[in-house]
């Protein structure tokens, strides 16, 4: 860049700025990112469960379902997704941290794939009744709204530098929390149903998170 008088003046301003910044060097109160994210996730789960209980009620055969493979399967899948999404979100809030999405999502993909392989891909894919898909996706999405708001708020403690990605991870985490909460009331026990419709609902929440994040967490 040519050294015009204007540029020389601007460079002097930069030199002055550096002096002022150097005067203010020293320890800062470190933002408690991990504690904030963990606390926010727990609060978000409470929010998701509360929303589900407002919209619907626990399945009448909850005791029986707990002893079958279906509920543990759903809860495990959602928990693995929560763990993976949490790790991706945490990394996205730390500049320079490389997010390994594939490896973090592999456990849930393997679990869902195994369930579908054992049961067969068409077993119960459309749910127990004709409104199953709408009810499932609608409830998960609604139950994810409060968690999404909480997780985006928690992200502001970090330094996210890829806002769309951070928003997407917050959405996936919120969606998985919604899915975990919904699994208490969901009567659709097919692995294929969970692999398709739960994941579709979570993907929608992820997309919403990616869209709104730049407006909410830009710094």
């Amino acid at each position: 860049m040519m050294k015009t008088p204007h540029n020389v003046e601007r460079r002097q301003q930069t030199a002055d700025l550096i002096s002022r910044l150097a005067e203010k060097s020293g320890p800062q109160l470190k933002p408690l990112l991990d504690q904030t994210l963990v606390g926010a996730t727990m609060l978000a789960l409470v929010g998701a469960v509360a929303t589900v209980f407002v919209i619907t009620q626990p399945r009448t055969d909850l005791g029986l379902a707990l002893t079958s493979w279906a509920m543990p399967f759903k809860a495990s899948a959602m928990s693995l997704l929560i763990g993976g999404a949490f790790a991706m979100l945490r990394c996205s809030a730390m500049p320079g941290c490389a997010v390994r999405s594939a490896s973090l999502l592999l456990p849930v993909v393997l679990l869902l794939g195994t369930g579908v392989a054992i049961e067969g891909p068409n077993a119960g894919i459309f749910g127990a009744h004709r409104f199953s898909i709408l009810t499932c996706m609608g409830t998960i999405i609604l139950a994810s709204i409060v968690p999404l708001a909480i997780m985006l708020g928690a992200l502001r403690r970090g330094v996210p530098t890829r806002l769309h990605a951070s928003g997407a991870y917050a959405g996936i985490l919120a969606g998985a929390l919604g899915g975990l909460a919904y699994s208490i009331t969901c009567i659709n026990d097919s692995a294929a149903f969970v692999a398709l419709w739960y994941v579709a609902a979570i993907a929608i929440v992820g997309a919403v998170g990616a869209i709104v994040a730049p407006k909410l967490i830009a710094w």
Binding site: N7, S19, L21, P27, G96, V159
Partner: protein, 174 residues
């Protein structure tokens, strides 16, 4: 960078000076590649320095510094590029000749009396009216009008251009 976290002023200042030199090259190149005005480079350098300073506690000393710096620099460049594109879209790029021609009265309207002109101008919204009076009627330059009206020169030029379009529309209907 560690000096910045522990409060050692001189090493931290030296780090920031060295960082600013690297940033200047990187940002000038990036703005050029994005087709933006490279004269904004120093502004963006300052924004990155402020971001690095204000977020320094987010760097974990056990992790490498460069990826952290790169991530913050990239974020600020993208942010600045978005802002510069919005500003460029609002600016009206006219040559000096084109600006001058706008101040010369169209011959078709030379028959209009001063009261006709005043009547037309009074139909404009307040700010546009003030700009037209200052520039076209009182003969001030855009710079002088900007100082007098407490606006930026760019805003005066935009308001003047829009006023002329509006006057042409009003005059055409009359």
């Amino acid at each position: 960078m560690r000096a910045g976290q522990t409060g050692s002023r001189a090493p931290y200042e030296a780090f920031l000076v060295e960082l600013s030199a690297s940033l200047r090259r990187i940002i000038a190149h990036q703005l050029f590649c994005l087709g933006l005005n490279a004269s904004e480079t120093e502004d963006v350098v300052q924004e990155v320095l402020i971001a690095v300073h204000s977020r320094r506690s987010s760097w974990d000393q056990k992790r490498p510094l460069l990826p952290w710096l790169n991530a913050i620099t990239r974020y600020k460049i993208v942010d600045a590029a978005r802002r510069l594109r919005r500003t460029e879209a609002r600016n009206i790029h006219l040559t000096d000749n084109e600006w001058e021609r706008m101040f010369i009265a169209d011959e078709a309207h030379v028959h209009q009396s001063p009261t006709d002109v005043d009547r037309l101008v009074s139909l404009l919204p307040g700010k546009q009216q003030a700009v037209i009076r200052a520039v076209a009627l009182e003969g001030h330059s855009p710079e002088q009008a900007a100082r007098h009206l407490g606006m930026s020169e760019g805003a005066v030029r935009v308001a003047f251009h829009r006023s002329l379009i509006r006057l042409a529309a009003i005059g055409g209907k009359a």
